[in-house]
Symmetry: C2
Subunit: 439 residues, 2 copies
């Protein structure tokens, strides 16, 4: 049984093990491998060739529709007409960097700030969550004068040099450098009944180790729903103790909201809000433009200032008016369609159905998460069973449902659909999952 | 006289020195400063508020049109209808990551590969030139097992942690770390008549220093037209000697084509082609999607493979089908409108007119560059005169023409318009420049 796979290879296509069934897809696959070589990352034993998408549906080349229970970028639904129209209209009017003033960018910044704690009054807009986290590390290191960073065991914070270092799940060989300390994810399997206290103690110990090694602790950074660690959301508030430990050490708390942000948890607009904590820096990305490449961060002015006094920073595409138009449309749609409430309600409905399925399927160890970000851990004799996860993911794909895997061992089914997901979609997912688990 | 300003503050708005003249722009400026704080980078003593753009024209809030001689992102012209239509159509059809196969992405990769040396057969698509250069450094370091990087004195290669280190022009305080060695830019003022040999000798010496310090040299990275160093393009071929020195040391040559790529130099599609060199890695960005955030790199498979064997790399937005559609439209427009030829012809026309202006204005030290990327160095008693550059840039803005500055001292007028720039636009620029220089 494989343990600790690198996150990015979970459910990855392996040319040595799989192939495309139909000749058209096989031909496209061959072109892909010639074009990207080792850069290519594809899902499924038999890769999917997608030609169009709408709302919660992806349509393959053979005309088959797949229920999308995986893609959190198209958060308000694939190809949402309001977002598409906003992008098209602004791209036809003005698309230029922010060294000139433009109205859409400031309007977006203000709408975004209104969702955030008032203290985080300075924003920076980037192209990707990776760029946002990369900048957040520099803000923290410059503001504290320290180098050390604490992350969880299967954390993923992006793909630049600096954030790859703090992404243990991206290492196929080796491990993060000495100035990066790893704490076990906030999993009840590890910490037992006092999750809050145990997790805070782990963070406290890591701070001590960084001090002793001479790095000091600049920041603790955590995805507020611990997606790649296997989805750990409950109980709300458990992060408060860890945040207090970080603060008392003079380090910064960076909330990586690339995954839980923008209403996905149903309980709140931001994942950190569910925990009642006030981060020093909030980073955001994926769902921000429903697919238009945009991301950013928010921080207190005094956290921003020291870095920008030392370095000139400019992001050519970041915060351009087309990104702003896409971002404004996403915020409008979230509100107009009541998608945070839908995430809460449909999430609750889906969770109940998954818990009911658990009663008849002992391979389901736990069902956990918040809103429309749920994790279903598969076990065998109480041990993580990534082989089962892989089989179920491919079995669901055969049944027209797309999900992914996460967790340090790759045993957790990752359920993370567009926020327009409805109870009938949940029914379809759970019916297919029951069949795939039985197979 | 200021010397060695950080590049990003050249022509930057300084709230202590300037202000917005009209109340509407002043209000937007106040919002901007509240939203971005120290992250805000604005041009001009009196910031511009832009509301729309078309081809080579930017239109301000007060209805005034400005001739855009600065913005190389909107390379085929602002808001080009063909690019806008391609983005709108694909965004309405499918916008998803590349872990599923899709046809537009492979079609784009193949069209892009057709412009590149056949040996560079593996591509990686990212969101920004910064991400591309950041990845290029890791490819080079993993492939060579060395850490050192050589850059030019006022180089700028992007904004991530790793590429900020190799961007001397981004440092407001301090200087690059010890594993980054700086060589003087290929400026005849420094190297005299044997530019090729002198520059190669500088690179050779830096390689020796990196070896001696125990870092070894992983790569020499250069913008093929040395934009931020003040635009150094001639004579074509002068980079061959430096490239040979890099190769003989077992290091990699990284051509940063974010600025000169995509036909801007007129002589060739890529800046390195003008020099007849074969880079190990080519990075690209800004003009690639005419404003749609996209970038990438190309390398030989054996340069790619070692890094990807060690790390999982995935770029969520990179290479998505909307980026591919934008990129395909840009390649189509470049060809259909003959923009490489226009860059050559209009560039030649403009250069002749600038040289004629030089005869009557002794403050113009040199006129240099290639195609539609020209630099005009302003001097006083043969010394660089950044104060004059600043005055001229603001004087041109008052006359409805937008340009920028570059060079280690900030004394070089940077002329870099959309590639649809025509002789009548060149006339307008040169007439305004004559007035601004006389003032």
């Amino acid at each position: 049984m494989p343990t600790d796979p690198d996150l990015l290879s979970l459910n990855a296509f392996d040319p040595a093990r799989g192939a495309a069934a139909d000749p058209g897809t096989a031909a496209l696959l061959a072109r892909r491998q010639a074009n990207l070589g080792p850069v290519s990352v594809l899902f499924y034993e038999e890769p999917l060739h997608i030609v169009r998408a709408e709302d919660v549906w992806l349509e393959a080349r053979d005309g088959r529709r797949y229920l999308d229970v995986y893609n959190n970028v198209a958060s308000v639904g694939h190809c949402h007409p309001k977002v598409v129209a906003a992008i098209a209209a602004q791209a036809a009017t003005l698309n230029v960097h922010t060294r000139y003033l433009n109205e859409p960018t400031e309007a977006y910044l203000e709408r975004l700030k209104a969702t955030l704690p008032a203290a985080l009054s300075n924003l920076a807009l980037t192209c990707s969550g990776s760029e946002a986290n990369d900048l957040a590390l520099r803000l923290a290191r410059t503001a504290t004068g320290r180098q050390g960073i604490i992350v969880t065991a299967a954390a993923y914070h992006g793909n630049t040099s600096a954030v790859s270092e703090i992404s243990p799940s991206a290492f196929k060989q080796g491990r993060p450098p000495a100035h990066v300390r790893i704490v076990p994810a906030p999993d009840a399997r590890h910490y037992g009944t006092d999750l809050a206290g145990g997790f805070a103690a782990s963070v406290w110990q890591a701070i001590g180790e960084l001090d002793e090694a001479g790095f000091g602790c600049a920041a603790f950074i955590a995805d507020s729903i611990f997606s790649s660690d296997g989805v750990h959301a409950d109980p709300p508030g458990f992060l408060q103790a860890a945040a207090a430990v970080v603060r008392s050490a003079g380090a910064l708390y960076i909330a990586d909201e690339v995954q839980p942000g923008f209403a996905r948890t149903g309980d709140a607009f931001w994942g950190f809000e569910r925990h009642g904590i006030a981060p020093d820096i909030v980073t955001m990305g994926k769902p921000m433009g429903n697919g238009f490449p945009m991301a950013g961060l928010a921080a207190r002015p005094e956290v921003m200032a020291p870095y920008f006094a030392e370095f000139g920073y400019f992001n050519t595409f970041g915060g351009n008016p087309v990104a702003a138009a896409a971002g404004l449309a996403v915020l409008d749609v979230l509100r107009e369609q009541g998608l945070q409430q839908n995430a809460a309600e449909t999430g609750r409905y889906l969770r109940r159905k998954l818990e009911a399925l658990q009663a008849s399927h002992p391979s389901i160890g736990t069902v956990r998460g918040a809103g429309l970000f749920l994790g279903v851990a598969l076990c065998r004799d109480d041990d993580p069973d990534p082989g089962a996860a892989r089989r179920v993911i491919n079995g669901l794909r055969q049944r027209g449902v797309l999900i992914g895997a996460c967790g340090r061992h790759g045993e957790v089914l990752k359920i993370r659909p567009p926020l327009t997901f409805k109870p009938e979609h949940a029914d379809e997912l759970v019916d297919a999952l029951a069949e795939a688990l039985t197979d």
